[in-house]
């Protein structure tokens, strides 16, 4: 498992190559990358991401360990950034490696659903006009029910 919580940007290509290499008996690698979405009507300038150092590390490690237990995974990867990010920058990525694609896809979705509402990150959108904390969505909370 590789869990990174960092302020600096990461290179998706490099991470995918590193993650895919060195596993035997892996036929599927699924990755998901989250990008800072612009708010066109309001012109997003910066997305600020706050987190809870200490709890973030343990929550992500626990989540990845649960995914490893539940699905037949050779490895799992979670990278999540904090600090100030511009529109178009990559916020986070998850990766799962498995013998078959079904486990890899499902485990990646599981990791995403838990990252959305159980990992201690908070986003704030700063536009030319305002600075607003992003509200949690009921859909994200409901998405957890299927697991």
């Amino acid at each position: 498992m590789r869990i990174l919580i960092q302020e600096d940007p990461f290179d998706v290509g490099e991470e995918v190559s590193r993650f895919s290499a060195g596993h035997q008996d892996v036929g599927a690698v699924v990755t998901f990358t989250g990008v800072v979405r612009d708010v066109p009507e309001e012109r997003l300038k910066v997305m600020e991401i706050e987190h809870y150092p200490g709890m973030t590390e343990s929550a992500l490690a626990e989540m990845a360990a649960r995914a490893m237990d539940r699905w037949s995974l050779a490895d799992a990867l979670v990278i999540h950034r904090y600090g100030r990010l511009a529109p178009g920058e990559m916020i986070m990525m998850v990766g799962t490696a498995s013998k078959h694609r079904k486990d890899a896809f499902e485990a990646a979705e599981y990791l995403m659903d838990f990252l959305k509402s159980r990992a201690p990150f908070w986003k704030r959108e700063i536009t030319a006009r305002s600075a607003q904390w992003v509200a949690a969505k009921d859909d994200d909370e409901n998405a957890l029910k299927r697991w």
């Binding site: 709890m55 929550a59 201690p120 990150f121 986003k123």
Partner: protein, 81 residues
């Protein structure tokens, strides 16, 4: 006990953390104690359904016991990903 605040809870209370001595047995009792201190605490804790709590860095609920608690954190629902 260390009390931590994040996101708009931190902004409303005006500080990221503080240390206090308390006899509160549960998170709910601690919240009542904090609300009694100043208006900004009362404002931050006005609607508990809009808040989440972690004790010793584990998510829990407001009925949770504070036995063995070294660190309690209050924050809005998380928005990661």
């Amino acid at each position: 006990m260390d009390i931590l605040y994040f996101a708009w809870v931190r902004e409303r209370i005006g500080r990221p953390r503080e240390t206090l001595e308390t006899d509160a047995a549960t998170v709910a009792e601690l919240v009542e104690e904090l609300k009694g201190r100043e208006d900004r605490y009362a404002a931050a804790f006005a609607d508990l359904s809009a808040l989440r709590v972690a004790v010793n860095q584990e998510l829990t609920d407001f009925d949770a016991s504070l036995e063995g608690a070294r660190e309690v954190a209050f924050f809005p629902p998380m928005t990661g990903g």
